[in-house]
Amino acid sequence: MSLLDDLSRRFPALLMARRNLSRNQLRSGLAVLGIIIGVFAIASLGMFGTTLRAGATDQLGDIGNEVVVSPAFSEGVTELTERDVTQIERAASGTTVVPVKQRQALVTRGDERTVATLYGMERPGALYTATDGRVPDRLRQGAVVGSGVAERFGLQAGNSITVDEQTYRIVAVLTQQDGISLVDPNNAVIVSPTDFEADGYSQVVVTAETGEAATAAADEIRDTLNGREERVTVFELSSITEGINAFFGILNAFLIGIGSISLLVAGVSILNVMLMSTVERREEIGVLRAVGVQKRDVIRMILLEAALLGFAGGVVGAVLALGAGIALNQFVIDDALATFQPVNLLYLVLAVGFGLITSVLSGLYPAWKAAGERPVDALRK
């Protein structure tokens, strides 16, 4: 308060504005409440959007960096040859290229059996990490099992399982993959591709450093392999993540739009409050003008009142929104600190700014009206 008093001494308009607002505290309070709701709505809905996006991106993992090349079945191509793989490696330079063979297989351990996907991969280590054991650079013998299979049979590195007729020693158990992936290892067993009878590959997984690099690699692969005839189908997930990002962008704009409507309503209520209070103070303002206060000072004083309402509402609204954001992030993505990221701070600043601007704009008309009245007219009994 002492800071406010100090400021008031220096800026008398502030003193007058504060005193005027304190005159009808209930009314001022209600006007502030409107702004609080508006600012809260904008900021919290904006942050809500960020949280949703973060949650969704989390689910997707980093598949945005993956490109999956499969045979163009529609053109009668059923498998990818070594030559195709070489061409893909050449086209997508700077990426990790993992050719994959795939079939369903019966997995047995003791009396238990299940059907799982069997992948043939020379370098599974390029795509996956292990929780138990070590994924070898080149998988020549032994098998790597996904977390789902490992859990089902209670497997550890060093155990052995039978796939179809052949028995393998397990060299590694893979970490559970949370994201969506086209080559999902959780419920799979990975062995050396030489253990497959077929020569061709069912798909080739290309992993790039970034989403953009993945997109570029996909384009390059399409150009090279599908030049004369359609050989492959290239599926890139970066386009999906882009789509998802665009969707959340629109969702955010929509949510903020809804918030803005409540702020608009708050603006109308401030307009109403300021208009009422200037009409009530008509004579006082007339006296101010009579004793030598300039029009522009009256305008300044009334705008300052509106700005104070907006500022108070904005700060309270922003604090509440921040609290709501923390709670939401804790609840949805289990990470309260995710609230404090630049986008969210931007939403907060934006919301407070909107609140302030709305209030000042709403004060313009009452200010102009009050200052424009001639003191003789205001003071006539």
Binding site: S22, V376, L379
Partner: protein, 240 residues
């Protein structure tokens, strides 16, 4: 009276020359002032009387640069101020003219001192507070500096208003029914204050009033009837 005799030779501080004020309210035209010639000198206390609707307040508004005359000239300290812009008028009001109203018009949220300071609040005036407190002491309210208007009596409010009118050391004090809301005794104390001010500060006071006791204190009384000044009283010195 002899003291004031000497000031009679000085130039008028405010003067109206052949001032006409016409109100045109949708077809009906009212001449509130029909050719007023009037002058007041520094230190002079003039009472303006007349029946209701005769144009007293209108005349005061023209004198106070709150309203421009339809015809005629307003001279402030010899300078033609008839056609000033709103901003210049406001500046001139702040510099040269103090107002006292029947309803006091104090700002309820401000203390007595802040109310007195009020005309200076929007400018850079570092010793205004000190002057305000001095003025309040001068009008006998030294022990009410931090009181709000609702904690003051009518007479005290009018004293605060007078102090406010004096904060910028104006040459002219205009009062519209300054004693209208006060009882006889309180009114008298306000009038005595006026009288002292004319002597101490050489302020010209022009007070519109229905109250016959005002003219007892005034140097002279003019009477308006239907927008005209009555000659028979213009020359007449007040009946002491």
């Amino acid at each position: 009276m002899s003291l004031r005799e000497s000031t009679k030779t000085t130039e008028p501080i405010i003067e109206l020359r052949d001032v006409v004020k016409r109100y045109d309210t949708g077809g009906e035209v009212v001449d509130a002032l029909k050719g007023i010639d009037f002058a007041a000198k520094p230190g002079e206390f003039v009472a303006v009387m007349g029946p209701s609707g005769s144009g007293k307040s209108t005349m005061l508004n023209v004198l106070g640069l709150l309203d421009a005359p339809t015809e005629g000239t307003v001279l402030l300290d010899g300078r033609d101020v008839t056609d000033l812009s709103d901003e210049e008028q406001t500046k001139e009001r702040k510099r040269s003219i103090g107002f006292v109203f029947q309803n006091f018009y104090l700002i309820p949220t401000l203390t007595a001192t802040e109310n007195v300071e009020m005309p200076t609040l929007f400018g850079d005036d570092p010793d205004a507070r000190e002057r305000a407190e001095d003025l309040l002491r001068r009008v006998g309210l030294g022990d009410r500096l931090d009181h709000r208007p609702n904690e003051l009596s009518g007479g005290q409010k009018q004293r605060v208003a007078i102090a406010r009118a004096l904060i910028n050391s104006p040459r002219i004090l205009l009062a519209d029914e300054p004693t209208g809301n006060l009882d006889q005794k309180t009114g008298r104390s306000v009038l005595e204050l006026f009288l002292e001010l004319t002597e101490e500060r050489d302020v010209a006071i022009i007070a519109v009033t229905h109250d016959p006791q005002v003219s007892k204190y005034a140097d002279r009384t003019i009477t308006l009837v239907d927008g005209r000044m009555q000659d028979w009283e213009m020359a007449g010195v007040t009946d002491q």
